[in-house]
Every structure is written in C-alpha cells, then in structure tokens.
Symmetry: C2
Subunit: 293 residues, 2 copies
C-alpha cells in the first residue's frame, strides 16, 4: 500500500518557507512557517527549512510527529531552476513518505491559474516572471541576488546600501535614505556597513524594503528613483510573460502588492486574483506528474 | 638577537598575491606570485597565497626553504580594512620570523608617494581610491564586489553578465557584448550562465574585462556605456582623494592603465609615476611602524 495519508504543499522562497498540510480529501489541516529554502544559496539550510515547515504544519494540525513518514511532500523551491542545486537535492535522504519538487515559480504559476495558460510576476526577496503555455513554463528574470532580481526586496535594499556607501564617501547627498539605512543597521561608517553586510543574505537587505517604500511614498527622490528603476524592470519581465502566455497576470510575493502601484498601467490592468496559493499549486502540479508516471 | 636577515614585502589583491624578497641592505633577491589574498573573502585562501608567494620569492632567490623562518613579512592585503577579517588574521600561527599587515591600499599609497602626502586610485579586480594626509589614510570606495567596486574588472564583468541575462530574456538587444559573454563562458542560456556564475569569485567576472574594453574601443554602445559609467565613478573617488591630500595621483592595479583614457581630463592630468611599488611600500611602512614601538 503506497498511498499517502497526508499531503504537504511547500512554498520555499529566499526568506521563508511555508507548508500547508492536507488530508487525502483536500481538507487543510494546518500550516507551518520556517526560514529560507533557496536551494541554490544553501542546500542544507533549504532542507532544514522544508523539514521544519512540514513539522510545524503537522504540529499545528495536532497530529503526532511520526506523521512525517506518512506525508507526501510536494515543494516549489527558489533556486530549483539551477541544475546543480536541483541535482544535489535529488540525493536528499528525506524523512517523508515521498518528496518531489520543482521551482517555486512553477508551483505559484500552476496554482495561480489553476493549471490554465497565464502569467505570474513574483516579487519577494527575489524577483521573476513566468508564463505557463500548454503546461510548459517559460521564465524571465529570476537570476538571483548577485546577478539580477531587480525590483525585488533584496535588490532594493542592496541598491540603497550602495547609495549609502557612496553618500558616506561624499559622492552623493547624505539624505533621508542614507540616514535611514545607517540607522536601520546601526552602522555610521562605510567600513562598519561593509563589515556587517559583505556576506549578508538577501533577506538582510530585504529588511530595508519597507523603509525604502515609505520614503518613496513621501517623495524622497533617491528612494523613488530606486523603486521606479526596479518597477520598470518588473513591468518589462511581466510584459514578456504576458505576451508569451496570452493570458492574465497574477502577482505574488511579499513585496508585489506594495510595488503594484508603480507597475506600467497595461501591466496593472492585466492583474487578476490567483485561483490557488503556491502550496496547493505544488500538490496539484507534482501529484499529477507523479500519477502520470 | 631579533633582527631579521630577510624582508618580504607582499602585495595581496583579489586575484593575485605578489611578494618581493629583500636582504637587510634593501637589495631585491627574488619575487613570487600566487593567487587571491583578499582576507575579507577567505582568510584561509589568503593565508595560503601569502605563504606561497613568499616561498616562491625565496625559491627564485635560490635560498633554502628554511629562509622562511628568518624572514620578516610585511603585507598589504585586500580586505584588511574589514575589522572582522583583520581580527581573524591576527591569530594566524604563521611560519615567518615576523608578520605584519595593513590594507593593500595603505601600502600602495605609501609606496606610490614614498610616504609623502598624495592620492592613489587602484583599479584591478576591485576598485578604490585613497589619500595619505600627514601619515593618515582616508579611503573612498573599496566596498567590495557585492556592494561597490564600481569600475573594477569584476564590476565590469558582473554588469556585462547582467546585461547578457537581460538580453537572453529579450529585454535588451542580443548584441556583440552578450554574444562575447556567452562565448567566453560557453553558456548559451540564462540558466546555464546563472548556474556557472552564481557563486563565482570576482576574478571569474574580471576575466571579461579585456573583451569589454576591446568592444568599447570598437565602439560597441553597451560596452562603452559600462566603461563610461565605471570611469565616472572612478574619477569621482579619485577627485575626492586628490582634494583631501592636495597631492598628485598615482594609478595602479591590473585594469587602471586600460581605463585611464576614460578618466576625467582633470584626473588624467594629475597622474604621476609611482616612486615605489606596493611591495617595497609595505616594507617601508610596516617596518617603520614596528621600529617606532
């Protein structure tokens, strides 16, 4: 008898990992949240986060910890589109009844339009867009913190820190944004900022996102320029995805709602509510793929 | 008897580490080159590089390996301005007779003007400028690969890769620069490029610098825009340093010569030949500091 008693859908991003636990009839039993699950940044951290989120969902459902071995886990994970990271995760000696994964983009997109053609724009710690075209995913952006992810929370934060370092060097006006960055990290010299942030995770830069958005709303020119530059890029990848799918656009991720007012009018006009969240999208997509085998 | 028989001056940058071995009379006996010595990126790699460069210099001088224990090493190291990195290196159980270090910027600057007031602009894998004012160093830039180092070889390379990823997504024209980047890394999709470069060292991005400069010379608009943006920043930090020191400017580092024609005319006009290299600068600066104790 190989059928699972429980199903966990996992949505693993750069900052947090969220699991939803369902019974075989599709009733939501509980949810759990843990830390980063970007497998291209750290496979070991991601594995811990996936496990912890499912354990928390099982605990919230008031089920015994041993339920883990009787749960099929279907995960959408940031970084799963990077072949070396995906290859490493396939060798995981996981404690679940089953474990299947794809990119967080794929599960978000599949859930958003209930498996129909459509586009999604994800803006959280990272950023990307994608189109679902007759079951095939086409991705735009999603190149990671170092090389891309423009418009994301981490990118906005990193740009704000770079601006602050230049302001501390006297190359830019030391205005409201630079002051806010120094205050947030409690660093008042370039050396202290670099020492604190040189090896920091994208999430640490993403912490700045709310204050950058607040300053942009207040009309701070530097914050506004960053938000506008990021939003231009996000509109561009969203347009590519919409053009490819010919469908509607769902926007998702921790920063998407706050940035929506800055997206191009044509992009804003295409935005629809999602049908399902990424956790249920993961279960629908990956369970169907498993059953087709 | 604590006096050393030999002195090694070490110039440790983000890509290579170079040691010069001198006798007590100041005669150059040999030189040695090894890999990266940026202590803020990896203390263990930097320690290996410092050791290897001095060993190579001893070998080139046709002295026995045991000379190491009779050699006082004075090093200027990239990343030494980062307090946590410098703190870690101070605990090194090194095999030398003595070991002292400061930032590569400090030794380059001290050597460049023979200890007199002046400014330096360093452009190699990273970038920074500094002023020496009555023995005190004031730094501009030098914020590292993630947060700054604009105009450096690694920054130019990273910007070229980001451009290429956007071109592969259809957001930019897939022109000469994008083609050259794909060919250099033998990657012909965004996923392959991200997989190859997501965790790559700054030096791997710096590999692109010669082809970016070549394309800029040929009038490629994208390459030219990158070189001009980088050079504007380099001119700005050089002007800050020149204003502070009131002195001449020495430019140094593997990329400085190639970028010099793009610097502001007033910055170009201030450029002078260096008096001493950073290796001898390290010996002069740190030996004087030791003897003053």
């Amino acid at each position: 008898m190989t059928q699972s008693t429980f199903y966990a859908g996992v949505d693993g991003g750069g900052t947090k990992c969220r699991a939803e636990l369902y019974d075989a009839a599709g009733n939501l039993l509980g949810a759990g949240i843990s830390g980063s699950a970007n497998i291209a940044r750290s496979g070991s951290v991601a594995r811990e986060s996936i496990l912890a989120s499912v354990q928390h969902a099982i605990a919230e459902a008031e089920l015994p910890p041993e339920t883990l071995a009787n749960t099929a886990v279907y995960a959408g994970l940031a970084g799963a589109n990077v072949p070396s990271a995906a290859g490493a995760l396939r060798n995981w000696q996981h404690p679940f009844q089953q474990f299947h994964f794809t990119s967080d983009l794929h599960t978000a997109l599949f859930g958003a339009h209930g498996g129909a053609n459509g586009a999604v724009l994800v803006v959280g710690t990272g950023s990307c867009a994608a189109a679902l075209v007759d079951g095939t995913l086409v991705q735009y952006g999603g190149h990671g913190f170092l090389l891309g992810d423009k418009g994301s929370g981490a990118w906005l934060g990193k740009q704000a820190v770079t601006h602050t370092l230049e302001a501390l060097d006297g190359l830019q006006e030391f205005g409201g944004l630079a002051k806010a960055v120094c205050q947030h990290y409690q660093c008042h010299s370039a050396v202290a900022l670099v020492d604190k942030l040189n090896h920091a995770s994208p999430g640490v830069f993403g912490e700045l996102c709310p204050l950058i958005l607040q300053l942009a709303h207040q009309g701070d020119a530097t914050a506004l320029a960053l938000v506008e530059e990021g939003s231009r890029y996000l509109s561009a990848i969203a347009r590519q995805a919409m053009g490819k799918s010919g469908g509607d656009l769902v926007i998702t991720g921790g920063v998407a709602g706050a940035l929506a007012p800055w997206l191009d009018p044509e992009v804003q006009a295409a935005v629809r509510e999602h049908q399902f969240g990424p956790e249920w999208g993961a279960i629908l997509l990956l369970r169907a793929a498993q059953e087709a085998k």
